[in-house]
Symmetry: C2
Subunit: 209 residues, 2 copies
DNA sequence: GTTTTACTTGAATGATCAACCAAGAAGGAG
DNA sequence: CTCCTTCTTGGTTGATCATTCAAGTAAAAC
């Protein structure tokens, strides 16, 4: 029903791109309508306001998180730690593809959108939570190599913070170096934190306490 | 000369606050003029445009970095590592003071300002570099406890990325928890990375390699 | 004491903004 | 065929945007 509207989909698709490139306030309705090839009247048939569109876009980001961000990364490796860093490598790709200018669309919106706009921030937080959840899955698979009762959510949140911070710095430095440095340090963190992988059949490196 | 203009100072002071609270595009000239109690004609006597004001504000942020961010934190402790975390504690304060809504003014501008605006991004990067430099100073003081030839700039950049990412997450979660988690993990990172402090006169814990 | 420079005043400008609306096209339901 | 719902068209609205300008004040410079 609401699904098969080509116009509505085109609007969301255009907004997804433009909000990422120029931000929410930086994207004017006329920019958006021109990009989507839609008249303003049609827009207001599907959305009650620009803010309603933002919510729809954030919902769409959430739907796209697994198929477009997590799954491709997970396909690159079966090893949990490598999967985490494959997600980060995906962001590195995007930094390079856009001349270090753009990064995570959520990070941008998280800082731009008025905190009074609770529905939008709730959706942004849900997106972040989805991301954290994916990383957490990887961490659960290596729980045995982590200190006992280690807070997996805290570590996954940390990974997200490092990624977002790295993306931000790379944007103003116009260089992928800060992102790479942040990721390299995160590698180091995992190296220090994890006991060596348990070899099947061997208990040689029993692990520190 | 250019210094003693009360009007100019008031404009920069207001802009510093408003850009932090509402962002650059989100701050209208009329907002700004009303907040500073200045007429538009006076504004354009001192600044050729809103963008020129942004540059002046970014220069002012840079001037304020040491006296307002770094020095107060350094006064809280003489221990290098504690000094780094005192800087982070300062950001935590600000998160709490603003109901988790606002954080680092630079982070916000870094993601908002059009990448084509090179002068602005150059100034933002200089601000970040100043911040990294302050952290680097602390790291130099504990160089002996770090692995040999460790890249201090990379580690300092990492600290900044963790801070910015933590601030961002706390904003959308409306909770200081993500920031605290990020900082706690960073603590863990330092704990794992550093050999125990050299006790004067004692070489007991010689340190791992 | 007159000229000059530095700054202020606030209305006006035209562009652009999000949003609205009356009119109509398209197509399925009855 | 007629009705009704769904969607499109594109011109229009009034608010707000950054910026400009001519006129004026005040104090330093000469």
């Amino acid at each position: 029903m609401a699904k098969s509207s080509g116009t509505r989909d085109r609007l969301i698709h255009s907004a997804r791109f433009l909000f990422w490139e120029r931000g929410f306030a930086g994207t004017s309705m006329s920019d958006l309508l021109a990009h989507a090839g839609v008249n303003s009247g049609s827009f207001y048939h599907f959305f009650e306001s620009k803010e309603a569109l933002l919510r729809a876009v954030l919902e769409q980001y959430l739907e796209a998180l697994r198929p477009q961000v997590v799954d491709p990364a997970f396909q690159k490796s079966n090893q949990p730690v490598e999967r985490i860093f494959a997600i980060l490598a995906g962001y590195r790709e995007r930094i390079l593809q856009t001349d270090c200018q753009y990064g995570c669309p959520l990070g941008r919106l998280a800082l731009e959108i008025d905190p009074e706009n609770r529905p939008a921030h709730k959706l942004i937080a849900e997106n972040f939570q989805g991301w954290i959840g994916a990383v957490r899955e990887c961490l659960e698979a290596i729980r045995a190599r982590l200190p006992k009762n280690y807070d997996l959510d805290a570590l996954a949140t940390y990974v997200l913070a490092v990624m977002e911070g790295g993306v931000m710095l790379s944007r103003s430095y116009s260089s992928v170096v800060p992102f790479d440095r942040a990721v390299a340090q995160l590698r180091e963190h995992f190296r220090l934190l994890l006991t060596p992988p348990a070899r099947p059949r061997s208990r040689v490196h029993a692990g520190r306490v």
